[in-house]
Structures are given as C-alpha cells and as structure tokens.
C-alpha cells in the first residue's frame, strides 16, 4: 500500500476512534464496581464486570424513566408523522384559497428557536391546566413540525399526479390514494423524517425539564441530568444511566445505518 493510502486511512481510523471513544468509556464505566473505578485506568475494563450501578439505578426508579421515554418518543413521533403527512399532502396536491400564504407562514416558523417559545408555552399550559401532565409534555410538538411538513411536501410534489388521477378515476378517495399510492412511493423521505423525529424526541430535554416535575412522568434525559443533585457525583451510576439513554439510538443506528446516513444528507439539499 502506498503512502498516499496509509495516511488517509490512519487519519480516518484516528477520527473514528475519537468519535466512538466516549461510548466505549460509558460502556466500561457502567460495568465497573466502585472499587474498580479507581483501581483501573479509565480505558481498561473492570474485571469481573459488575452490575452494581444498574441495580442501584433501577432501584431508584430508572426503569420507569426508560418506559416513559420510549412511550413519549413513540407517541410524539407517530403524531408528528401522521399530521405532517396530512399537511404536506394538502400543500402539495390540493388547491384552495390561502394555501400559499399558509405555506409561507409555516416556513417562517422554521426560524423560531425553542428558547423563545418556552416561556409562553409554559404559561399556555398553565392556563390549560396541563403543567406536569402527559398532555402538556407532548402537545406542543405532537401536531407536526414545519420542517417535516416542508420535507414531505417537497417530496410529494415530485410524484407524478397522473398516478393519483388514475386511481381516482377508479373511484379511490383522497385518503385511499394517499395511503395506497403516495405513501408507498415516499418511503425514503418517510425514513428521513422518522429518523429526525426519533432522535429529536428521544434527546429532548429543555421542555420535559420545564413542564414535568413529578417523578412518575420523568424522562431519561431529565433523570440523568438531575443525578448530580440527587445522587451526587457517582460516575458508575451516572455512566450506567447515560448508557441506558445512549444505547437505544445506537442500536437503531447499527441496524439502519445505511438509510440514516443517506437520509441525513437529503435534508441538506435545497
């Protein structure tokens, strides 16, 4: 192998090790016992592996946070997909007065940062009596994000209208054509939108931190962030908690790696 090949490979391997190292460290630390934490170098495994940290975590209600996070992520993602598909279809395929103005209004809200909306949203939820409820937790995002609507609408417009017209002549209604013609042709963009939604919802922190306070509605992200104040700096437990938060997306990534890498690139195009 020539020098011109070895150098890029070397840099790539170093870069990938750097990208992966924090995950590796999380895994090792999570399975170390208290004595092993200080008896070994951080990058050495603690032998034999100890599950003491996990026992402590699940003893303090961490299992509940995990269940909550899965349920909320699935719930919000499904809602976002359904409502974004409906909106995108209306924008892409139907013509009605006000459509283009509304689309521009939707696009302009892409510019609104969550930090600006959090105080009004909190006060709105307070007025609705939804502070510290599941409804308050999911309501602001479950109805669809402008970004997902935008991506889906752009894709729907590339599907030839003739296909739908043919189905409609055969007597299929709007919903039927959407389900049986448009969606099966839109798999790539649906994967993209789902990926972005799952990552954003699983990782979301600021809104859950503000709107929920009782422990039975706590999400993983909030649970591990409050560790420091509730358990103190206990790296074994903190890393075990982090591992539980990080692992599910990592496993999803390993299975869908090909699609995810491709689908992220799609979102960068105009």
């Amino acid at each position: 192998m020539s020098r011109y090949r070895i150098l890029p490979y070397g840099v790539l391997v170093a870069g990938c090790l750097f990208a992966i190292f924090p995950y590796y460290l999380t895994l090792l630390t999570a399975f170390k016992g208290p004595g092993q934490l200080f008896g070994t170098a951080p990058w050495e495994p603690g032998l034999p592996p100890s599950t003491a940290a996990f026992d402590r975590l699940f003893g303090s209600g961490f299992g509940g946070y995990l269940v909550n996070t899965v349920a909320v992520t699935v719930g919000i993602t499904v809602g976002q997909l359904v409502f974004a598909v409906l909106a995108a279809y209306a924008f892409a395929r139907l013509s009605f007065p006000g459509r283009d103005v509304l689309f521009w209004v939707y696009l302009s809200t892409l510019m609104v940062p969550p930090v600006v909306t959090m105080i009004p949203l909190y006060l709105m939820m307070q007025k609705l009596g939804l502070v510290d409820t599941w409804a308050g937790l999911i309501l602001p995002t479950v109805l669809g994000t402008p970004y997902a609507i935008f991506l889906l609408r752009q894709f729907f417009r590339t599907i030839p209208a003739d296909l739908e017209d043919a189905a409609r002549i055969d007597g299929a209604g709007r919903v039927r054509t959407l389900l049986s013609i448009v969606l099966p042709l839109s798999k790539p963009i649906l994967v993209t939108v789902t990926t972005l939604a799952v990552v954003a919802n699983w990782n979301s922190f600021l809104w859950p931190l503000i709107i929920t306070s009782s422990e039975d509605k706590r999400l993983l992200s909030v649970g591990i962030a409050l560790f420091k104040s509730e358990i103190g700096v206990d790296y074994n437990a903190v890393m075990a908690g982090s591992l539980i938060a990080l692992a599910p997306l990592l496993v999803l990534f390993i299975f869908f790696q090909r699609f995810i890498v491709r689908s992220v690139a799609v979102t960068g195009l105009k």
Binding site: L94, M111, V116, L123, G144, V199, W202, V264
Partner: protein
C-alpha cells in the same frame, strides 16, 4: 387526466377541495400557529409586563428593556454566548469540511468510516455532557490520565474559568462535526470531476484547486452548515446544564441558561421574556446577515 367536468360540478369540486385542504391542515395549524407563531407574539407582549411569581402582571412599557441595557449579567451572558458560537461554528465547519474531503475518496470500507463519524450526532446531549464531564475529571478522568502517560499534569478543565468554555464547546464540535460532514460530502459529490481534470491540465495544485474551484462551489452547502450551526449554538443549553451549570462563576452562563434561570428558578417571566426577545433578535440579525453575505456571491448550478 380527468375529463373536464361541467361548470356546476367544478364549483362543487373546488369547494370540496378547500374543505379537504383545511381539514387535512387543521391539526398542524394548531401546532404551527398556536404553539410556534403565537408564542412569538406572546413573548413580545410579556416583555412589556412586570410579572413575577404570584404577582398580577402589570404593564410597564419598555421598562424591562431599559433594565436590560444596564444589566451586566445580560451583557455578560450574551458575550459568553458569542464566545461559545465563535468557537463552535468555525471549529465544526472547518473540521467537517476536512472530514468530507477525507471521506470523499474512493477507499475500501469508506461507508463504514462515514457511518462511524456520524454516530455522535445521535447522542443524547445531556448523557454525553455527563460522559464528557467524566472524561474531563481532573483526577481520574480519561483525558488527564492520558496526559499523565506522557508525564503531563492536566488542568481541572471544567472548574477553570479560562478552560471551561472551550471544553464545553469541544463537546459540541465532537458531536456535530461528523453530521455536518455529510452535507459537505453531498456538496462535493455534486461537483463534476471534469473540473478537477481541467485544473490539473492547467497545472494547478490540489490546494490551489480547492481554494479557487471547490470552495466557491460549496457556497450553498457552506451557507446551510453555517446557518444551522449558528442558530443551534446560540441556543446551547443541555450540555452546559449538566457540565458546568453556567460556572465556574458565570464563565459559561450562556443566554439560554440565563433565560431558564430567570424564568423557572426566579419566576420572573416578564424579564426572562425580554431577554428571549433580545436573543431572538440577535439570532435573526446574524442569520439574515449570513444570507445577505452569501446572496451577493455568485452561485453555480450544474443540475
């Protein structure tokens, strides 16, 4: 195509389509208009009120803005935010561009390298913030232990007012360099290979080609990467919340953290709203300036 329908039926069809359109849009309209657009208007109104916990809101005009101008904490937090943005954005952009040039080569196994580099993007920021806190731990952390192998005595990264911010910003760069690499990679792959051949015929070095041809052609991608990173890093919160809580002192107290603190720890909703409005204005101005700057330059289209 459908046969043209008689006029009467067409009017009925049009009405049906309008109804169908608004029915399909209804849920997302509540979401977008009610939970995104309305809050922007509400936050502006709130900024004109004195509203602390349990007190009745009182209209005070621009008094909050006058207070803000003389509030050193606010100025400090915006400078700290700017500092964070100025480390994160160039760091992420340059690193992701270099990575894209690297993974754009046709080498065996390249798709696995690309995938591995993207993984940090998916990490839960709060969890990764804690993992990096452990890496940065002055005594037992991986970084200082590693430096110790070379006889170096590493500093207390997160409790030094000087080093805390660069350390926190490094986590952002670590998390997003691989992700942004994908956009540059897509941009690079849109550039016809013939241009490279033309350059080498003219005797241009690869470096000269990069600055004269590749970089200008990547401008649309550059704009996208810059804008999304600027908007994102102006709102930094999650990692700072777990890594430094704004400290040591107030050396990492970024704007979002200050807003959170004013609103949800001190329950001063009026004043917190005023700071939010200012942050929104800053983000808007910076984003629009980037658009204007890039708009003035030529863009090329090969499609």
């Amino acid at each position: 195509m459908l046969r043209p329908a008689p006029r009467r039926t067409r009017r009925v069809q049009r009405r049906q389509q309008t109804l169908a359109g608004y029915a399909l849009l209804a849920p997302s309209m509540i979401g977008v208009l009610g939970f995104l657009l309305a809050p922007v208007l509400i936050v502006i109104v709130l900024s004109l009120f004195d509203w602390k916990l349990l007190s009745t809101p009182e209209f005070i005009g621009l008094a909050n803005y006058r207070e803000l101008l003389n509030d050193d904490d606010v100025w400090h937090s915006f400078l700290v935010t700017l500092y964070y943005v100025l480390i994160c954005v160039p760091g992420t952009t340059i690193l992701s561009l270099l990575l894209a040039l690297l993974v754009n080569r046709k080498l065996r196994g390249m798709k696995y390298f690309r995938a591995l580099l993207v993984i940090p993007w998916m990490a839960t920021p709060v969890a990764m913030g804690l993992v990096w806190t452990w890496i940065f731990d002055p005594g037992r952390g991986a970084l200082n232990q590693f430096l110790g192998l070379f006889g170096l005595d590493g500093p207390a990264w997160l409790s030094s007012p000087l080093l805390a911010m660069p350390s926190v910003a490094a986590v952002h760069i670590w998390q997003f360099a691989g992700y942004n690499m994908l956009f540059f990679l897509a941009g690079l792959q849109n550039i016809p290979a013939s241009l490279r051949e033309a350059s080498s015929l003219d005797g241009a070095s690869p470096v000269a080609h990069f600055f004269a041809v590749t970089l200008p052609l990547l401008r649309p991608t550059m704009l996208f990467v810059l804008i999304t990173n600027v908007i994102g890093s102006f709102q930094a919160f999650d990692t700072i919340f777990v890594m430094t809580e704004g400290g040591p002192g107030d050396s990492t107290e970024v704007a979002t953290y200050l807003i959170y603190d004013e609103a949800f720890r001190k329950f001063d909703f009026g004043y917190a709203s005023t700071i939010s409005v200012l942050l929104f204005a800053v983000i808007l101005v910076v984003t629009i300036s980037q658009f204007v700057y890039f708009e003035r330059r030529t863009t090329y289209d090969f499609s």
